[in-house]
Amino acid sequence: MRTMRKVAIIGVGITPFRARYLDKTYFELAYDATKLALEDANKNGAEINHNNLESTVYGIYNELFERQFMPDIFINSYIGMNNKPGTRIASGGATGGYTVRMAYSEVASGLSDLCLCLGVEKCNDCYDEQTGVTTPEVLNAIAYSADMTYEYPMGMMAASSYVSMVNAHYEEFGNPTEEQMAYVSVKNHGNAMLNPKSQAPMKVSVENVLNSRIICFPFKLLDCCLYSEASAALILANEEKVKELGVENPIWITGVGAANTDCFIGNREDMGRLYSNIYAAKAAYKMANLDYNNIKSQIDLAELHDAFSGQEVISYEELGFVPFGEGGPWIEKTFEKPGEGPWLNGELPCCPSGGLIGCGHAVGATGIMSTGEAALQLRGDAGKHQVSINKGRAISHSIGGPGAAYAAIIVMANEEGLKKP
């Protein structure tokens, strides 16, 4: 690791997250995000265009969404990257975070000086003819990610997979309660109201969440993220390139941690754990010289992977923000208390963008959006949902796959954050 080169995010491009784009294909969305990232890099002082990009790492989860195997090669053509290397990453819901990790590796290793990290997903072209809506068919396209022999035939799908871990956590610790989970939905839908790119900006109450329709006991509709269509892109550069281009505000990637835990929840020592989170967090923090036991006071914000409200609560514990079993009480006791908890004005704002529940979940794009959002926060360019930046450091978090077996965590710092202990 000592031989790796320093890598910075110099440009961020995120398209609006929407339920459906009828005016754009997946490769057109990818083009838009790439163009936005190039424009942002230019605003950030670098005079570059797509011809300067040396390689692409693509994050695209699901061929069935795109109705296309190897969708990356069609994007590669459309974004004008022919005759350059392109690598596709597919790691379920963690695709985005893993893609950032591999793009980091591309630059840190010296293979590229300027690399495009590009995620896209367009799920709502799936269509269920029997109900006349998209969602059941989207869910089916996702459910093929469960083990096809032992789990898919049982009716396993994303919500029932995540809810199993949340229910096991509840059995062990007595939380998260349904009310504590609802607080996450209140927070993330609320934060999304300040993010113009979000799909589900809403002022919701705890009662609204508790009274929304049951999806998978005890998850209700408002506990679940939405399926989105969107693309997100980052432009990564090594230190020399950052200097050469005169980038004004580089955001350095100081830690990348990833781990895959057992995809069979029933094989885990404790079913109320997403062990991948714990290993990925420890690896990322160690690389960034941060302390797992003290991380909450070392970073300004966390863009978490809140696929389901109850799982965000568990993530507080697994990422080291609070001790095990104290995630639910942390969000509940800090409601409307400035400077405390995971709220937008709290001690550690979690999902200021609105996260997956508020901004949306366009799988391959999601972890790239959250990394980009965290980078914009560290630059002071986040907009209305800007949080106060004191330590100059942030994390993004991506999980996914059967039983959330995949996890990837990215630690970032601005120039100030690099210097602070």
Binding site: Q130, N140, E151, M154, G155, M157, A168, R213, F217, G266
Partner: protein, 164 residues
């Protein structure tokens, strides 16, 4: 002046048929189909039991032996699904959970059927027993679990039967 956008969508489907090999796991499905047995495996070296079965131990890279497991077990965690995929939406609400069969170390995901499907009926710690389809294909859907106190009712239905 730019032209007004009009969208265009097409109907399409991706469908692939399989004759899928179960490889080293084949014995599990053959015994399930022919003899209503639930086989796990046990590592020759460390003694860990695997369910779903693996003929190789992933922990110590040694082969594992077949081992018949009891058809009773305990629910470790469960849920009731009220909204789901296009393939299962006609089946809602349905219960699924991870069941640790007596003698196994790992828990198996299975359907949990109940005549009174409420969370308290299928919660952690509840005892369940396997019920088999009379018509079996050598697939996981050949069996399911029911609360122990409903077992006799379920096996008296014409399409189901008890195990061994």
């Amino acid at each position: 002046m730019s032209e007004e956008f009009k969208d265009h969508q097409i109907r399409d489907v991706i469908k692939i048929n399989y004759k899928y090999t179960m490889g080293g796991q084949s014995k599990f499905f053959i015994e399930l189909k022919n003899n209503k047995k639930l086989l796990g495996t046990k590592c020759k070296k460390c003694g860990k039991t695997w369910m779903p079965p693996r003929i190789n131990c992933s922990d110590c890279y040694e082969p594992a032996d077949w081992l018949e497991l009891k058809q009773t077990g305990t629910i470790e965690v469960s849920t009731i699904v009220w909204y789901t995929t296009s393939a299962f939406i006609k089946a809602i609400p349905y219960g699924i959970g991870f069941i640790k069969l007596d003698g196994a170390e790992t828990a198996l995901l299975q359907g949990i059927f109940s005549e009174n499907l409420v969370p308290s009926k299928i919660k952690k710690g509840k005892r369940v027993k396997a019920v088999f389809n009379k018509q079996r294909d050598g697939k996981m859907t050949d069996f399911f679990f029911v609360p122990e106190d409903e077992y006799d009712n379920w096996i008296s239905k014409p399409e189901y039967e008890g195990g061994v």
